[in-house]
Every structure is written in structure tokens, then in C-alpha cells.
Amino acid sequence: MRKLYLTLKYLFIGLWSMFVVAPFLWALSTSFKDFNSVTGGATYIPWVDFEPSLEGWRVLLRSPAQGGVNIVEPYFNSIVVTCSASFISIFLGTLAAYALSRFTFKAGFIKNSDITFFFISQRIMPPIVLSIPFFIMLGKLGLLDSMVGLVMVYVVLLMPIAVWIMVDFFNKVPREIDETALIDGCNPYQAFYKVVLPNSVPGLIVAGMFCMIFGWTDFFFAFILTFTEVQLLPVAIVALNSSITPWWSLSASALVSVAPLIVVAFIVERYLSKGNLSGALK
């Protein structure tokens, strides 16, 4: 009985791992193909099944004038926009979450939990609902196709996540910590900055991770609110997908775009194994 269970367990884990890895392996193999090896039917192993070519990878570095896409600039744009939006969201979100966790607010029937729900409810709105008014608003402000405009929009997307995670987290940090700091002569800002914040690093890491993931992987707003000046990575990659789909360069760019977040996966796992993450998520 126990043996059967163990067999089934490893079988399931094995099958799921294959499912997770399959598209990556396929992309890796495809990125070394050229037009002929793609249209000849499905092939897998370079040198055995097809003659490898580096065309897919070279296209990513060539300028558009030479028939490439030059992925470097969109890559840089994506990093700048994601990092600044995440930073602003976490900064403002953490302050708000601290207030919501420690102090009581009351205005008529509105209480702390209602304010928290107001933050989280911003995630319910589908991007499409906001896209048209955002388009008009950024147009009026002259911020269409600019980094500032995108960062503004992403702050709205990411701050609810930061608030959601940090409220939960601060609720689990004992109140005695701040009270002791206040008795020792700190003012409220110092108590927050010098005592509570250093104790909340795991929470900040988790909130940061979620903000990074959702910012880095957004396509819709970047697609609608930018044209040529500020291209983000997902938009640049999807733009490759024109009349003839260049499978090779699409695959190569997909692999390149995943790379920075694999590092994030390792950081998350480290905190998960230490058991710190469990405090950050309910």
C-alpha cells in the first residue's frame, strides 16, 4: 500500500515536472532552427534531427534597419519601468499597510477593513475597463508612449498587491515591538523605520516578488499605451509575430525574457525553506 502510494507520488511529480519543462525545452530547441528546419515538421535534437543555426539569437541583437529587433532597449525599458513601479508601490503600500494594521480609522461607516478592501478591489477591474480612459487621460497629460505614464499605470496595478501582502504581514509582527520602541523614546516614524521595517524584510521580499512578477509580465497596458518611443519587452517580442512567424527568434527571446525572474524563483525558495514566507502569506 505504502509502496503503491510512493510510486504514484513520484509518478505524479515526474509527469508534472515534464509538463513544466516541456515548453522550455521546445523553445530551446526551436531557437536554434532556421526556416527550413521549422517548416520540415517537428524536430528536436540539433545535429541529429536538424542543422543548428544561430540566426534566432543573432536577430535579437541586430538593429531594425538590418532586419533584426534589437531587444536590448526594450529589455532595459522593462527593467526600469518594473523596478520603479514596484519600488513606488511597495513604498506607498507599506506605509498604508502599516497604518491599516496599527491604527484605527473611522469615517462614518468606513472602517479599516473597508479601506483594505478598497485597495484590494482595484485588482478586480480588468485591464480592458481601464485601458480606454487611461489612453485618453495619458493623451491629455502628454504622457502616452512615455515611461512616466506607464509607471503611473503600473503603480495602480501593483500597489493593491503590496498592501494585501503587507497588511497580513504587519498583523503578524507583534505590537509590543513598536510599543517598546516608543517607550524607548523613538517618535512614530523612527519606530516604523528603525524597528518595524527591519523586522519585516521577508514580507517586503514577498511583496517585491509579486510586484516584480506582475509588472514584468504585463502585456496589455504596455501594448495599448505605448507605440514606438518606449517599447517594453513583451510588446517587442510579440511584435516579432508578424506575417511570417519567426519561431526561432521568438523562442530565443522568450527564453531571454524568463531569465531574470528565475533568479527571483531561487530567492523565493530560499525564504520558503527558512519558513519565513509563511509569515508573509496568511
Partner: protein, 287 residues
């Protein structure tokens, strides 16, 4: 604790959020009462006409909404079951625990729209590896251009992408469970199956509900996957609400009407998510 400084903590974030959102939300409501389209761009006032049109003549919107409900409920259920199973398996000591934990997280880190392009080549009907394999048995299913299979393909891609999210939340929950109930269960001689039913599952219920609701919120916005994989086709077989609003608004430029669609959709979503949350609480948390 109470300070006069407390507003200095809350207000920067709250005001920034409201400041950025007040125009888009207010404008959507106002726009939904106008006939703004590509022929007559302008904010005229036509009352609730767009809403009458939506409730009386637009069956395509309601079909899209039905399809969205089907797709999001199916994918979230699958994600929950699979994510819970995977979290349980790497919870206790197994060989290469940390390796599997990182591996299972990775799909969430990828950009949906880019991975979907890869999936599209993966399921390509004549050049992709899936049909290459199935051809051995003489099958050649039309993954992207048949009514039923195109939905299955969308579900497979969504499950691949977002099961890790469920997995992460549930694993973090499992790792923070108290030890005492398990001691009590083992003293009472409960086997692994009964321990799960009577100890693990009830303890995990609040986390499960939170995870399911958040995934439902995110899954109902499904758009990127459909846009790249099938563009809503064949016909309207995979057209979801977001995609239909996208077509009306940014393809046919019926801004007024699409604002009415958006606002109606938003109201329906808030109501149905509240109901789902209440039902889940009643089903999963027994006294």
C-alpha cells in the same frame, strides 16, 4: 495606539491610488452614457440607451460571459486541486525537495503572452511536437481550430501558467501549520487519509478560500492567452468578456458602448465574487 500622525502613513498611498483612478472610473461611467464611436467622436448624452442595447439585443456579450465563467471556474478548480496536490507532495521530506519547489514555481515567472506564443507553436497542428507524437497513433487533433479543443488548449495553458501561484500560497500555508493537531491525530491512530480529511483540510480552509478568490479575480481577466492563442476563435469559441470588450472598444471603436459593457461587467464581477466567497466559506468551514 493612536497618533495624529496616522494619516501621514495611510494617505500618500490612498491619495495616489484615488488620484490616478478617479478620472478613469468616472470617465467610464460618463462615457457609457454617450454614443462616442469613430463616426461621431464626442461626449453627447443619450441616457441609458447603451445599457438597454446591452440587456436586450446583445446575446454575444452574455455568451462571452458564460464562456468566461466556464473557463475561469474550470481552470481555477484544476489549479486548486493540482496546486494542493503538488504542495502536499513537496511539503514533507522528499528527494530533491528544493529543486522541485523552484521548478514548480517557474511557470508563474514567465510572461503569459510570450509563453503563449511558444505554446502556439507547441500545439501547431502540422509542425508542433504534440501532434508529431500523436501521429504515431494516427491522431491529428485540431488544437487551435476546433470548437471544443481550442477551449481545452486555453485551459491547459492557463493551468500551466497559474498553478504555481496556487502552489506557492498553499505551500506557504502548509509550512505555517501548527504541529499539535498532527500529534493528537497520530495518538488517536488516524491514517494519512483521515489526517488529511479531518486535520489538514480544515486547517487549510481559510488559506484555500483566499487563494481561490484571488485566482478567480485574476482568471476572470483572461485576455493575453486568448488574444495570442486563438484570437477568440474559431468563430467565437474562445471569446471571453474582456476580449469582447476589447473588440468593441479598440477594434470597432464603439467607445461609448464598450464603456457600458465594461461597467456592467465590473458590477457583475463584484457581485458574483462576493457570492462565491460567501458560498466557499459556508462549504469549507464547518463548525
Amino acid at each position: 495606539m493612536n497618533f495624529k500622525h496616522k494619516y501621514l502613513f495611510l494617505f500618500p498611498g490612498l491619495l495616489v491610488l484615488i488620484g490616478i483612478l478617479i478620472f478613469p472610473v468616472g470617465f467610464t461611467v460618463r462615457l457609457s452614457m454617450s454614443s462616442w464611436d469613430s463616426f461621431f467622436p464626442g461626449l453627447d448624452y443619450i441616457g441609458l440607451e447603451n445599457y438597454f442595447r446591452l440587456f436586450q439585443d446583445d446575446s454575444r456579450f452574455w455568451e462571452a460571459f458564460g464562456r468566461l465563467s466556464f473557463l475561469s471556474l474550470t481552470t481555477v478548480t484544476l489549479q486548486y486541486v493540482l496546486g494542493f496536490a503538488l504542495a502536499l507532495m513537496v511539503w514533507k521530506d522528499i528527494a530533491f525537495k528544493r529543486f522541485f519547489r523552484v521548478l514548480f514555481l517557474i511557470p508563474m515567472m514567465t510572461t503569459p503572452v510570450i509563453m503563449t506564443v511558444i505554446w502556439k507553436t507547441f500545439f501547431h497542428e502540422s509542425l508542433g511536437p504534440v501532434n508529431d507524437f500523436l501521429n504515431i497513433f494516427g491522431w491529428n487533433p485540431l488544437w487551435l481550430s476546433s470548437e471544443i479543443l481550442s477551449k481545452v488548449t486555453v485551459i491547459i495553458v492557463e493551468v500551466w501558467q497559474w498553478t504555481p501561484f496556487m502552489f506557492l500560497l498553499l505551500l506557504a500555508g502548509l509550512l505555517s501549520l501548527p504541529k499539535e493537531p498532527y500529534l493528537a491525530a497520530s495518538i488517536d491512530g488516524a491514517g494519512p487519509y483521515r489526517t488529511f480529511i479531518y486535520v489538514t483540510f480544515p486547517l487549510m480552509a481559510p488559506i484555500s478560500i483566499g487563494a481561490i478568490i484571488i485566482r478567480l479575480i485574476e482568471a476572470s481577466k483572461i485576455m493575453d492567452t486568448v488574444y495570442v492563442l486563438t484570437s477568440g476563435g474559431p468563430g467565437t469559441a474562445t471569446e471571453t468578456s474582456s476580449f469582447y470588450i476589447f473588440i468593441k472598444g479598440l477594434r470597432e471603436f464603439q467607445f461609448g458602448y464598450s464603456a457600458a459593457l465594461s461597467f456592467t461587467y465590473l458590477i457583475i464581477m463584484i457581485i458574483s465574487l462576493t457570492i462565491i466567497a460567501k458560498v466557499l466559506v459556508r462549504l469549507m468551514i464547518r463548525e
